[in-house]
């Protein structure tokens, strides 16, 4: 394995760590706020919709979405680089991950940004 393949570059390495720390904080907050831990309560529209409709939480959720997708898909990319030898195949799979990331970010964005509580 060449050094070029083993490394995704310094900025990818750094960004994986920054998003990792952000996710650690947001994920623990998510478990407490959304799932009520350590007193788990079921997720219902009535309980979570009012909070999701506030601008502050929309910003937090978009940050959460972006960090989770970057961190997760970059992680998959690192795994793929270790097991896929062919450069053509690597380029193809990188494209697949980018498209998947774009679709999921779009799906998340259209869920979060225009959200308003319905009766």
């Amino acid at each position: 394995m060449t050094e070029k393949r083993a490394s995704g570059g310094f900025y990818a390495w750094l960004l994986q760590r920054i998003t990792g720390v952000v996710l650690a904080v947001l994920l623990i907050a998510h478990f407490i706020v959304t799932h009520g831990l350590p007193h788990p309560s079921g997720v219902t529209y009535a309980r979570i919709a009012p909070r999701l409709a506030t601008p502050t939480w929309k910003v937090i959720d978009m940050l959460f979405l972006a960090c989770a997708l970057y961190h997760g898909l970059n992680g998959v990319w690192m795994v793929l680089q270790d097991y896929v030898e062919s450069e053509g195949m690597q380029t193809f799979l990188f494209g697949v991950l980018c498209v998947l990331g774009a679709i999921l970010f779009f799906l998340g964005a259209i869920t979060v940004i225009p959200f308003a509580v319905q009766a």
Binding site: F10, W13, G20, L37, P38, G75, T111
Partner: protein
């Protein structure tokens, strides 16, 4: 191009590959979950009836039980990830890497009990009706 610090190779050799393998497996499981999660939560746009119907399905007893595995994956991946950073960024952390490992896993284990025990009780209530 900047090279990754040698310390990355260093800790891999010393901590053993299994911590690394488990980080990969839990990471891939979490990506799989993330895709499903974004897809499922998209249903909130359909309003209270549609959303609560979908949530009723994904909060069935089987899924409440599987969520214990999700919590485990999240906590292992989070605290092993923090361990990686401590060992990479701090000379002291690198030298005391076994203690860092023990401390991180102790925190992860504590949080797993703190969240997991009530989740398991919640699961038991759900099967009892």
């Amino acid at each position: 191009m900047l090279e990754r610090p040698n310390v990355i190779k260093h800790y891999r050799w010393h901590m053993g590959t299994w911590a690394w393998v488990l980080h990969r497996i839990t990471g891939l499981a979490l990506v799989f979950y993330l895709v499903l999660h974004i897809w499922v939560i998209h249903n909130i746009s359909s309003g209270p009836k549609g959303f609560d119907k979908v949530m009723g399905v994904v909060q069935a007893p089987l899924f409440l039980f599987l969520e214990l595995g999700l919590l485990g994956c999240v906590l292992y991946h989070t605290f092993n990830g923090l361990r990686i950073m401590i060992v990479e960024f701090s000379k002291e952390g690198c030298e005391a890497h076994k203690m860092v490992w023990g401390a991180m896993m102790a925190v992860a284990g504590f949080l797993f009990l703190l969240g997991g025990v009530p989740m398991f009780v919640h699961f038991l209530h759900s099967i009892a009706g």
